[in-house]
Symmetry: C2
Subunit: 188 residues, 2 copies
DNA sequence: GTCTATAGAGTGATAGAC
DNA sequence: GTCTATCACTCTATAGAC
C-alpha cells in the first residue's frame, strides 16, 4: 500500500504525550517514541514543529467537543437529557480525572500563550452552549451564565483535585453534585 | 554588611518564577534572573538543584496556608467569619486567578510527580480543615466533606477558567457564589 | 525522472549539575 | 565558568509509487 501512515493518525498519540508531559516537557524524543515516527516523519507531517503538532491536537480536541458536547447543548430541545449526556461524555473523556484537560493546562503557564485564543474560544463556547441549554430549560436568565460558568470551572477543578488526591471517586462525586444542581435548576 | 542575601530571601522570587514558567519551564537561567543570583549561588543555597528549590517554595507556601487558612479553619469558633476570611485571603493570594496555584499545577503533568505527597497533604488538609469548620457551624456531617471538596475544587477551577477567559471577574463571581453556598449551609 | 515518506546523523543552542 | 546531555530542528540518504 502507498500510504503507510498519515498526519491524522499521529494526532491521538501526540495528544496523549502532550497531556502527560505538558507542552515543554514533551520533547521530540518523547513525541517520536509516542507516535513511533522518526523526527523526519514528524517534521514532514508538521513542518511547523511542536507548535504545529499542538495545534493539530487542539483542533482534533475541538472537533470532538463540538460534536459530542457543544452542538448537542446548542441544539437541545430536551435540556435535561443533553446535560446528562454531557456529564457522561465528560466523565468518560477525562477518565474520572486521570486524564488532564489539555486546554486547561495551557492556561497555567507561559508555555501555552501561543494558544491563548484557541483556549479562550473553547471555554467561551462551552459556557455559552451550556448557558443556552439551561435557558431552553427555562432557567432564569439571571442564573444561566453563572451556573454554566460554575459547571465548566468545576470540571476543571475536579480534575485538579482528583489528581492531587489520586482518587477518581472525588472527581465523580463533584461531578454528580454539579449534574444534580443543573437538573434541579431546570426542573425547579 | 556581611550577608547580602540568603536562602530564605530567594524563595519568593523562585516561587513566582515557578508559577510563571512551571517546573520544567523554569530554567536555571530564568531562576537566576528572577532571584538576581548566579547559578553558583543558587547551588550553594540549594545543593539539590531545582528540586530542592521547588521543595523550599512549597514549604514556604504550606507555611503561609497553615497560618492564614488551615489553622483558622481548624480552630474556628465562629465558622462564618473563618470562612469569609478564607475567601478574602484566597482571592487576594491568587490575585483573582491571575496567579496560579503552584500545588494545583504540579498535579497536571509528570514533571511534578516528585512532589505528589506534599501536594496530596496540602489539599487533604485544606478539605479536612474546611470540613471541620462546617461541622462546627452545625452543617450535617453528610454534607461537610462534600461541600469542602466542592469549594477547594471550585477554587482551582476558577483559576483555570479566569485565566482561560482572561477575566478576573469570572474568578470573583465563582468564588462569591461558593462563599454564599457555605454561609447558607451554616445558617440553614 | 518526480513525489512522498522514511530513519537518523548532525546542527548550534541551551539545559542542569557542579 | 565548565562540563556533558539534551533540546528543537535541519538535512542527507534512501526507499518505493507513479
Amino acid at each position: 500500500m502507498r500510504v503507510l501512515t498519515n498526519r491524522a493518525s499521529a494526532v491521538p498519540a501526540l495528544a496523549e504525550a502532550f497531556r502527560e508531559h505538558g507542552f515543554e516537557g514533551a520533547s521530540l524524543a518523547v513525541l517520536s517514541k509516542a507516535t513511533g515516527l522518526g523526527k523526519g516523519s514528524l517534521y514532514n507531517f508538521f513542518p511547523g514543529g511542536k507548535e504545529e503538532m499542538m495545534e493539530a491536537v487542539l483542533a482534533d480536541i475541538d472537533h470532538w467537543f463540538c460534536e459530542k458536547i457543544f452542538l448537542p447543548l446548542e441544539r437541545a430541545n430536551d435540556p435535561a437529557t443533553a446535560i446528562s449526556s454531557m456529564f457522561e461524555y465528560v466523565t468518560a473523556y477525562f477518565r474520572s480525572g486521570r486524564r488532564v484537560c489539555l486546554l486547561g493546562c495551557l492556561t497555567l503557564n507561559t508555555a501555552g500563550v501561543e494558544f491563548a485564543v484557541i483556549v479562550k474560544e473553547y471555554f467561551a463556547r462551552w459556557i455559552s452552549a451550556l448557558s443556552h441549554c439551561l435557558e431552553v430549560g427555562k432557567v432564569s436568565r439571571d442564573f444561566t451564565r453563572q451556573l454554566a460558568e460554575e459547571t465548566v470551572s468545576g470540571i476543571q477543578g475536579a480534575i485538579v483535585l482528583a489528581r492531587a488526591l489520586d482518587d477518581d471517586a472525588t472527581f465523580n462525586r463533584v461531578l454528580r453534585r454539579q449534574h444534580s444542581a443543573l437538573i434541579d435548576a431546570i426542573t425547579a
